[in-house]
């Protein structure tokens, strides 16, 4: 049981940071920026380069995250602001195109191989019967701290209130004295930071190769939607639900039910489980887990 919980949390870690980043920008500028998953790959590569350049990990991580945040802002100013004038579908396709270009850059710079941070690895410890590695714990800590920080920004600072206001009604936000463009860029920056941290925590636990972004896209998307679009922290719940479903499907021995010793649902059905869950969920909660708007005419 403990192991189940733990596996769920760890899998949720894979998704949560990037999903929150996706959902954060989505709420503000109303299009799913699929290039975000590439930002996390960028973050991971950058972090490793910085570490190789001799920086201690504790410096390399935040530095890389900040740089990716800036990069995200840059793309927003140069590209997405312009595309969004014409609508979200166009911005979506634009972000796909940007993803392609970014993966070309990765391909040129890093080739298709997998990279790891230069970190010592030890066998898992036993913790209340569950197996846990040091890096799982440290990345758990990083994730909790950054999500906590983001939540604090969102709910307890002026910037957070302004983000939510801008997301809801940009015109009125401006009329309340909010520099909406600045707020949007701040959010984009934060989303870049979160995405980069997401990528780096993945790389700390395992490895990162250029294809990771593409592979992560759909589960991250699903988590963000499940949480409720435009509800940034809902994405955390979305990630937890999805990973619980996946873990349940793959970690449960259905053998006894069928009179066999072992019968596991194929691990390759884990994703199927999460997608099926998503569809079911949407049937019963057609607007995601959390919604912040009442639909009335």
């Amino acid at each position: 049981m403990i192991q189940f919980l733990f596996d769920t949390v760890i899998r949720a870690l894979d998704l949560a940071l990037i999903a929150v980043a996706l959902s954060g920008v989505y709420s503000l500028i109303k299009f799913p920026n699929v290039a975000l998953v590439q930002y996390s790959v960028t973050g991971a590569f950058l972090g490793m380069l910085l570490q190789q350049a001799g920086l201690p990990l504790l410096v390399a991580l935040p530095l890389s995250a900040a740089l990716v945040g800036l990069l995200a802002m840059l793309f927003n100013v140069l590209l997405f602001e312009r595309l969004l004038e014409e609508g979200s579908a166009i911005a979506l396709i634009g972000s796909l195109a940007l993803s392609m270009i970014l993966s070309a850059v990765f391909l040129l710079a890093f080739g298709p191989a997998a990279y790891r941070f230069d970190l010592p690895v030890a066998p898992a410890m036993r913790f209340m019967g569950a197996r846990v590695t040091v890096h799982q714990l440290s990345t758990l800590a990083i994730t909790l701290v950054s999500l906590g920080g983001f939540a604090a920004i969102l709910f307890f600072t002026r910037l957070g209130r302004e983000m939510r206001a801008t997301a809801t009604n940009c015109v009125l936000a401006a009329a309340s004295g909010i520099g909406t463009r600045g707020v949007i860029n701040a959010t984009v920056f934060i989303s870049g930071v979160l995405a980069a941290l997401g990528g780096m925590t993945l790389a700390m636990r395992g490895s990162v190769s250029i294809d990771l972004g593409t592979q992560m896209l759909l589960p991250v998307f699903a988590a963000a939607i499940l949480g409720g679009l435009g509800n940034a922290l809902g994405a955390i719940a979305g990630a937890l639900v999805i990973s619980a479903a996946e873990t349940f499907v793959t970690n449960t021995n259905f053998g006894p039910l069928f009179g066999q010793d072992f019968l596991f649902a194929p691990a390759s059905y884990a994703q199927t489980a999460s997608f099926a869950l998503l569809v079911l969920f949407l049937l019963f909660r057609p607007a995601g887990l959390f919604t912040s708007e009442v639909n009335r005419v």
Binding site: A165, T168, A173, A174, A175, S176, T180, S292
Partner: protein, 240 residues
């Protein structure tokens, strides 16, 4: 306080909606803008506020050129408060949060003080503090929007049909309140209205727009007593 001269403005690459508009409004004054639907009243307000950039002419606020100052700067520098005609609340936020959005730069004490004052003034809102604005009725939104603008303690107030959708009692209250704050806070109020009779009774001067031009400008009292005006703008008897 506000001085617009020879304003031309429009949307995108469309035609000029405002063709040549000059108007002024000063402190301690309520100026009402009247005119048929689609003549450009809201556009004028949006141009003064800074949502629409004028294609020609000048807008001066407190004597400073303000044509290109974006709205959020105007809010901060000149204390502009704006109540849009439609889509006038933060739908995903609660009533309380909506009001706090109006109170960006206030100290905690002033904020709480104003908040409580507004809550007592509009019990309709007080009952629904924690309700999401998207659940509110049309009239409740209208009041919320006005209250949000008042939270900031503006020096210049731009109101786009503040009384639309309000019950007679509420409309009366709102106009009375507007009249009171002009006097109490030396405010400059520019107000678009279709309920002309009530609006004129509290305002000092009025502009009547027609097709993007100023058709008439006069003191409110004079307009109220003008029988031709009565027929044209205040609604006559359909059977007559």
């Amino acid at each position: 306080m506000i001085e617009a001269s020879n304003i031309r403005a429009g949307y995108g690459d469309g035609p000029d909606i405002l063709q040549d508009i000059s108007m002024t409004a000063s402190a301690r004054e309520i100026v009402t803008i009247l005119g048929p639907n689609g003549c450009g009243k809201s556009t004028l307000l949006k141009t003064v506020a800074g949502f629409v950039r004028p294609r020609g002419g000048a807008i001066r606020i407190n004597g400073e050129g303000a044509e290109t100052v974006p709205i959020h700067e105007k809010v901060r520098h000149y204390g502009v408060g704006y109540v849009p005609q439609t889509d006038n609340v933060f739908r995903t936020m609660t009533v309380t949060e909506n009001l706090l959005m109006g109170a960006r730069d206030l100290s905690r004490d002033t904020r709480n003080e104003r908040f409580e004052a507004l809550m007592t003034q509009y019990p309709t809102l007080a009952n629904k503090r924690r309700r999401k604005a998207s659940a509110l009725s049309g009239g409740e939104r209208q009041i919320l929007s006005l209250a949000r603008a008042l939270m900031a303690g503006p020096r210049i107030l731009l109101l786009d049909e503040p009384s639309a959708g309000l019950s007679p009692a509420m409309m009366h209250d709102v106009f009375e309140a507007i009249g009171r704050i002009r006097d109490a806070q030396d405010m400059c109020i520019l107000m678009v209205e279709q309920n002309a009779y009530e609006a004129l009774s509290i305002s000092d001067r009025a502009y009547v727009l027609s097709l993007g031009k100023v058709a008439l400008t006069a003191r409110s009292a004079d307009l109220l007593n003008d029988p031709a005006m009565e027929r044209l703008y205040l609604g006559g008897d359909p059977d007559a």
